[in-house]
Each structure stands twice: as C-alpha cells, then as structure tokens.
C-alpha cells in the first residue's frame, strides 16, 4: 500500500512544503515512539492501580494483627493475580514493541540471568529465614514487602545504568527506595508503604513516558 505522497517515483521532495514536513516528522516520531515503547503509559497506570489494590488488600488483612502473624489467605489471591497478570501483560507488550528490533533494546541472556538469580535468591533467603525460626513479623511482613523491591530495584538499576538508560535506572532506584522506606514502617505498615510507593512510582513513570512521546 502506497499512501504517502512522493513515494511512487522515489521523488525528490519537489512541492513538499516545509510545514507539511514538520507535521509529518512530528507525527511519525510520536507514532514510532509509541510503537517501540514496551511500557506504554496506559499499561503503567493500570499496573499502578493493580499494585495499590493488591498491596492494599494485604495491608488491610494484617493491620490489626497484634502480634503480627502473616497476611490472610483471602488477601493473597489479589497479590498472585497482580503478579500473573503483570508478568503476562509485560511479556506480551514487550514482545510486540520489540518485534523486529535487534540490538541493545533487547535484554541479553546475562541480564535475564541476573534478574532470575535475584528473584530466586530473594525467595530462597525468605525460605531459609522461615526455616531458621526468624520471627513472623520479618519472614511474612517486612521481608516480603520490602526486600524484593530493594533487591530487584538495585539489580535493575545497575543493568539499566550499564546500558546508559538513565530514565529506567532512576525508576528502578525509586522502587528500591520504596522498599527501604518500607523497612522503617513495621511489618504491617511495610505493605502500605510498598503499595502507595509503587503506585506513585508507576504513575510518575507513566507521566514521564507520555510527555516524552508527545515531545
């Protein structure tokens, strides 16, 4: 399909008005940026709401516990749903955005391995802490609410900094900062801090990406 003027003859631009060129350049750039973006703003906004609901449900289930034991079974489906939907949608959108793209945009096997080791390591340590008889407030409260954010955030920030992607590195560091803030909020409060913190980071990132796509 040939829908653009001047294509049939591989023309020389004669009669192509500079104003039209400026409009075409702006439209094409915006459209391409949107199509290559693996985390579109609308998706980040949905994730923000989902994470607030999931972590909020856990916080509601533990906020009245004295002493702290663990999130109730009723609160966990929300968290699992968030993890599964988030992971699935992220993979689908990233595949669509990077289809046909080769080079540094794609994660290397080494980078994927680093993130896999971090996630497996975080939950292996959690299991070890539970086995070692560490208190429930840490094993089922502070640790799962804060440490995954810190570990994954720092690892991702390092990977993105090595790629020279300062925006993604900053976002990852903000996620790690949310985790660190959660450590000071107690076992129940850590869930609230993580939920609200991630909500704000995701919405802020959505706003930055949306502004960049319009620039």
């Amino acid at each position: 399909m040939n829908t653009t003027p001047g294509t049939a003859t591989a023309g020389n631009g004669g009669g192509f008005d500079p104003r039209q060129a400026a409009v075409l350049l702006g439209q094409t750039t915006q459209q391409a940026r949107r199509q290559f973006e693996p985390s579109p703003p609308w998706f980040l906004a949905i994730r923000a709401v989902m994470v607030l609901v999931a972590y909020g449900a856990v916080w509601l289930s533990v906020r009245g516990q004295h002493p702290y034991t663990h999130p109730t079974v009723a609160a966990l489906p929300g968290v699992f749903a968030f993890v599964v939907v988030n992971l699935g949608a992220t993979v689908v959108l990233a595949r669509r955005a990077t289809a046909g793209v080769s080079g540094r945009s794609r994660l290397s096997r080494g980078e994927i391995a680093i993130m896999a080791v971090v996630w497996i390591g975080v939950f292996a340590v959690m299991g070890a802490l539970a086995g070692a008889g560490v208190s429930d407030a840490i094993v089922y409260g502070l640790y799962p609410a804060a440490v995954p954010l810190i570990a994954a955030g720092v690892a991702w920030a390092g990977i993105m900094a090595a790629r020279g992607n300062q925006r993604a590195s900053g976002t990852a560091l903000a996620v790690a900062a949310v985790g660190i803030a959660g450590l000071f909020a107690g076992p129940a409060g850590a869930w609230a801090v993580a939920g609200v913190g991630l909500f704000l980071v995701l919405l802020g990132t959505a706003a930055v990406i949306a502004r960049r796509q319009r620039a």
Binding site: M1, T7, L25, T28, A32, Q35, A99, G100, V101
Partner: protein, 99 residues
C-alpha cells in the same frame, strides 16, 4: 541542499518517515525490513528504492542474516544519518520560525 537549506535526501515524505522511524530506536538498534514496511505502509519494492538511496548516502546501514532457510534483512540509522536528521530538523525549525 534544496533552496531552503533542507537536505533533499530526507526532504521526501517517505524517506522522512523512514529516517524518523529508525531514529525513534535507541542508537545502534536495527529494525527488520518487514516491521519497517508495516510501520511505513509501503510495498517492498518502493521501500527498497528509498532504502537504497539512503544507504548510498550512508544514512542507513542494512544487514542480511540467514537462519537456516529463513533470511532476514535489518536496517539501522547510522551516526551520519542521525546527524543528518538532527540538521534537517534544525533547518526546518529555523525555516518555520522565520515564517
């Protein structure tokens, strides 16, 4: 250059779309011919003509890879091409700012 100082290689609607699309990728990344064709909305023959002109000017580079029986052509904007687009964009700004 055209009379108004715009690079004639880029100042053609289709080539402007090709260069602007490739410039939206991070530096050093390449795009497959088929995805570029989808995004620009051209026939393969037309796209090849424009890509050849841009490649002759060293604005883009192309690479053909073969995986078994399947071959894939990828296209990337060169540093020279990115600079040319920046210069073209600035020339457009100057021109339209002065109108």
């Amino acid at each position: 250059m055209t009379d108004d100082g715009l690079d004639p290689l880029i100042h053609v609607p289709t080539r402007l779309k090709i260069v602007a699309t490739l410039a939206a990728l991070p530096e050093g990344d390449a795009l497959s011919f088929t995805r570029l064709q989808d995004m620009i909305g051209l026939t393969p023959g037309n796209l090849i003509i424009h890509l050849r002109k841009l490649e002759e000017a060293d604005y883009i580079s192309s690479e053909k890879t073969r995986n078994g029986t399947v071959s894939m052509t990828t296209v990337a904007l060169t540093g020279h091409g990115r600079t040319a687009l920046d210069t073209y964009t600035q020339a457009l700004r100057d021109l339209l700012g002065g109108l």
